[in-house]
Amino acid sequence: MIAKLTSSERQTAVVIVLLVAIAGIAMAAAGRNAPLGVHGLVVILFAGALLYSLLSAFYAPEPTEEREESYYDDPIKVGIVLAMAWALFGMFMGVWIAAQLAWPNLVFDAAWSTFGRLRPTHTTGVIFGFGGNALIATSFHVVQRTSRARLAGQISPWFVLFGFNLFCVLAVSGYLIGITQSKEYAEPEWYADLWLVVVWVTYFLLYIRTLARRKEPHIYVANWYFMAFILVVAILHIVNNLALPISWGSAKSYTIWPGVQDAMVQWWYGHNAVAFFLTAGFLGMLYYYLPVRAGRPIFSYRLSILSFWGITFFYMWAGSHHLHYTALPQWVQTLGMTFSVMLLVPSWASAGNALLTLNGAWHKVRDDATLRFMMAAAVFYGISTFEGSFLAIRPVNALSHYTDWTVGHVHAGALGWVALISFGSIYTLVPSLWKRERMYSPALIEWHFWLAIAGTLVYVFAMWNSGILQGLMWRTYTEEGSLAYSFLDTLVAMYPYYIARTLGGFLFFAGTAIGCYNIWMTIRLVPATVVSEADLPATRAAPAGE
């Protein structure tokens, strides 16, 4: 890793890490025994670990080869490993809190192990830890291959990757000691948010500079999606996290948004986090790894255009459907609902484009679990985007809102779409990245696939049943005009579904663990293969398509 950096780049890296460490020392000094001080210590440790690995290879020989003649794959490898590690952590937390809902005694006698603190470690662990690292890694891979150019920076890819993971570590460790903004999917406090802005702007500049160096006349669809993901997430993150800390020595801050505006900004953020983090970015993955694995051209370039601009335009308006029948003015709710419905066809166009791309390759889908992961992901993407538009309709939302149906919907998307497309992409990527002939065990990929499918279906069906039952029980009246069920009655009715949900989550987690083992063994044991000429930047390989 460090051997690929020149001596002056190593010095720059050391300076950056020292600056981070100084920030950590300042936080520790200002925060003292308060939570901010603890986080100062976390920053110091994180920077210290990086500094140690930098210094231990500081005087290693400088790279001799012409670096521009190869792709920059080291940060991608580390990103994939980090993504899988976060997947294990985040999904384990998910299984734990699912079990807590069924059996509330599964806590230690300590605040950190309560549901309220563990729940965001699950969501942050899987969305940002697993999803975020997978997105960063695959976007670095895709942009280089589809531009036939090396990443436009030697240190910045590492800065983006480790900076993002520092943010995730601050987030998760903060929840355990009680630091939160209480905004769903935006829980980390002001200093972590500021840090993420620095990291994310670096990511954006790196990506756009790499695209500017491309040797291809056109920008491939996958890059449109990755660019939309990076740009919009930056805007969302900054606007939703505008806040004032109560003092420089405190982790606590208050948002500048008052009342219902806070709710609206939060769900504009929350829904577009789903749209641009969990959808656009992963569509970028889909548009690259699925056609590569299937060996088929994209079904329709025109459909790609329709769905890209449909998704980027309509999603922006849809957030208010999270606030139906609240203090939010009704006209905002109407706009959220109608734009959610108009979003349906562009979303389905993406799923359809992916599935129709497989025409001529369905025999591969049958035989190759990696490709089947991506096919199933497209199907779940179609299902959950339909469900999303449907749930956004006000009268439907009156039944589904605040119930487990929402949880089921999110997991149909998160497990069925986001995780499956990531696993499909990672299984495609790992052998090519580590220059291995193949994955260690195709049978284990099959096992992973079926565990993931079974886990998702068990989870989603349990939550559909539980959510609709719950929603109906809340609105059932007796003949005499009083409510038929108390809240406790609904919990008793939920109990079997909560157990089923825990089982579904465990199956999914088990599949992920098998995947980690398979990737590990691939890196360790599968024989290496030679680099193909096609997998080199245009500076060295023969000009493409000329």
Partner: protein, 293 residues
């Protein structure tokens, strides 16, 4: 640069672009997709005409239907109140005896009361009202502070050892822990109390202990629980001669109660429940005990 080729599977031409082996077909957008796109847009635009939708500076388009979620829900609440007005008035104002005698009204009480009980009382007393250790059984028609809807309502209103200024207050001292009784005396009096509801326990070999306990009881416990240990509802002191126990009636639990004392807690429901809900619940709880003696 762009060299279109024909894909052998679909017969379509490519766009001529290629990225690391990925090509794209120039397939037109399927007609069905366009139709579906138009249908969803027409549906959405129609909504904009009928309901509040677009902002106009300080106001917004009101829509042809003239609906507004606030007026809608207010109207629904008024309508629901009116529908229930006759019954609500009777539940609020009529004497408990009149309501108890009216089977139709009691059907309403049992329906609404069950849900109210579930949302307010069941967390401690259980959904069926049978309680558990530390939380009295409300179905046995045996009352610490007196039964009947009036007294039950009073208990709910002020709570027990609660923050309410008129709270019912009851505390059993920790006779053992605070050194008021010797270890031996605690055991004796507990044995005596145990024997009251377990006559079989008064055997030859226990009789001495029990008699010693009786003296301890008279000197320390009778002031609250009464000379005959039948309890005192004015002080919330339980009857110790029956087999109904708040904390448990086995010998060891009784020893624990005498040693460490007891101080139950019930929150005040004053100002948290409406008069109708309070009276409905009082009737419901009274009815629980009456129905399952």
């Amino acid at each position: 640069m762009a060299i279109e080729e024909r894909d052998s599977v679909t017969g379509r031409e490519t766009t001529g672009h290629e990225w690391n082996g990925i090509k794209e077909l120039d397939t037109p957008i399927p007609r069905g997709v366009l139709m579906f796109l138009i249908v969803t847009h027409i549906w959405a635009i129609a909504w904009w005409f009928f309901v509040p939708a677009w902002p106009l500076g300080t106001t917004y388009t009101k829509g042809l239907l003239g609906v507004d979620q606030k007026t809608t829900v207010e109207a629904q609440i008024v309508a629901a109140r009116e529908e229930r007005a006759a019954i609500t008035r009777r539940l609020e104002s009529e004497p408990y005896d009149t309501i108890l005698a009216d089977e139709q009204l009691m059907t309403v009480v049992r329906g609404a009361g069950r849900q109210l009980f579930g949302d307010n009382c069941a967390a401690c007393h259980g959904t069926d009202g049978r309680g558990r250790a530390g939380y009295p059984d409300l179905t046995d028609d045996d009352w610490l502070w007196g039964g009947g809807p009036e007294l039950i309502e009073q208990t709910m209103r002020v709570g027990i050892n609660s923050r309410h200024s008129d709270s019912r207050i009851a505390m059993m001292p920790a006779f053992g822990r605070d050194g008021m009784l010797e270890r031996e005396q605690v055991r004796n009096v507990a044995t005596y109390v145990y024997s009251l509801s377990n006559p079989d326990y008064s055997t030859e070999q226990n009789v001495a202990t029990i008699e010693a306990g009786r003296e301890v009881f008279a000197a320390n416990c009778a002031s609250c629980h009464g000379d005959n240990a039948a309890g005192n509802r004015d002080m919330g002191a339980p009857n110790l001669t029956d087999d109904r126990w708040v904390y448990g009636g086995d010998l060891q639990t009784i020893i624990n109660s005498v040693h460490g004392g007891r101080e139950g807690h019930m929150p005040t429901w004053d100002e948290r429940l409406t008069t109708t809900d309070m009276r409905t619940l009082a009737l419901y709880v009274h009815d629980l005990g009456r129905r399952q003696p």
